[in-house]
Each structure stands twice: as structure tokens, then as C-alpha cells.
Symmetry: C2
């Protein structure tokens, strides 16, 4: 598993704290897409979408590559493994704490 | 599973985008604690910790209750279930996309 620094995790969660960026990640989970393709469903300007893409790329959740005149975006495989494992672990602990409450 | 509105998910991710707040959640996953107990390891003022607690409570990740003169904080059971399932699903899709790349 990738080892994360706190600042990397901060960036990942900030990137996830926006419904449009979460939609983009869902779209990219079904296959790579250009910035124009990603912007189209929102009637969003290319400039607006580029800003979201930059935030996602800075958080290492996606990569982009220039293909001709377009920029193609890819979801990074396993990008969420570290944080989803961490969140699931917290949930498991919380459930144990909850269950043992009655027995004290 | 709890159904989340986009604004609720935004708040959860914003709350998670801070190393101190993630530490507090880890601490609370081992059992409930007062705000003073949570502030102590950081040499943080009560006022500073109260702000973090407020962000976590607004995001419905923790609950607090007044016990005598102290405020006791509890992790909400299953609070992360929705988002950890969503993140794990994205990862699974991304892995499938990655694997099928070579076969096209």
C-alpha cells in the first residue's frame, strides 16, 4: 500500500470535498476522458473544469496526458485504498466501542 | 446504510482534511473522551480543540454530551460506512479499467 504523508491525505480529502469533483472521479472510474468530455454534462467552461482537474491531479487522484490537442484524464488505480482502509478501520473500532457500551 | 446528501458528504470530507481532526477521530475510535483529554496531547488550548470538535460534530462524525462540567465526545458508529464503500467502489472500477487497458 502507498504510504501517505498527512499533507497528501489533506489534499485528497480537500479534493473529495466537492460534488463536481466526486462526479468526475465516478465518470473516470468507468474509463479515461478528455477535459472537454468531462465538462460537457455540466455546461461548464473548459477553464472551470481545468481548475477541478488541477485539484484532483495535485491530490494524486488522477493523472493527465496530452493527446493531440486534448488532455486525457485517468483515475489513478488504488488511489483511494489507503484512505478507504483507514475509514473502514475507524468504523470497525466505533462499532466495537458501541457494542461494549452495554456490558460495562 | 445512511443516505447522504452532497452537502453532507462535502462536510465530512472537509472535516477529514485536517491531521489533528483525523487524530481526534482515531483517539475516539478507542473510546469516548472529553475535550480536555483530546486537547492535552497537542498542548492545544480548549478553545482551539473546541473549534475542531465543532467541525467534526457539524459533519455528523461525532456527537457530544455535557457530563458535569465537561463535554464528552463520541465517535458516531458507521459514520464512515457510506464514504468508505464509495471510495472502495471507485478503486475497484479503476482496477478493472487498468486491467482491461492491455486487452484493447
Amino acid at each position: 500500500m502507498v504510504q501517505y504523508q498527512p499533507a497528501d491525505i489533506d489534499r485528497a480529502f480537500v479534493a473529495l470535498a466537492d460534488a463536481t469533483r466526486r462526479d468526475v472521479l465516478e465518470r473516470l472510474s468507468t474509463g479515461s476522458a478528455t477535459i472537454s468530455e468531462l465538462a460537457a454534462p455540466y455546461g461548464m467552461s473548459l477553464t472551470g473544469m481545468k481548475k477541478h482537474i488541477q485539484v484532483l491531479e495535485d491530490a494524486s487522484l488522477i493523472t493527465t496526458e496530452k493527446v493531440g490537442r486534448a488532455r486525457l484524464c485517468h483515475l489513478v488505480p488504488y488511489a483511494f485504498e489507503g484512505i478507504s482502509v483507514w475509514l473502514a478501520r475507524l468504523d470497525r473500532f466505533a462499532q466495537v466501542v458501541e457494542r461494549t457500551k452495554g456490558t460495562r
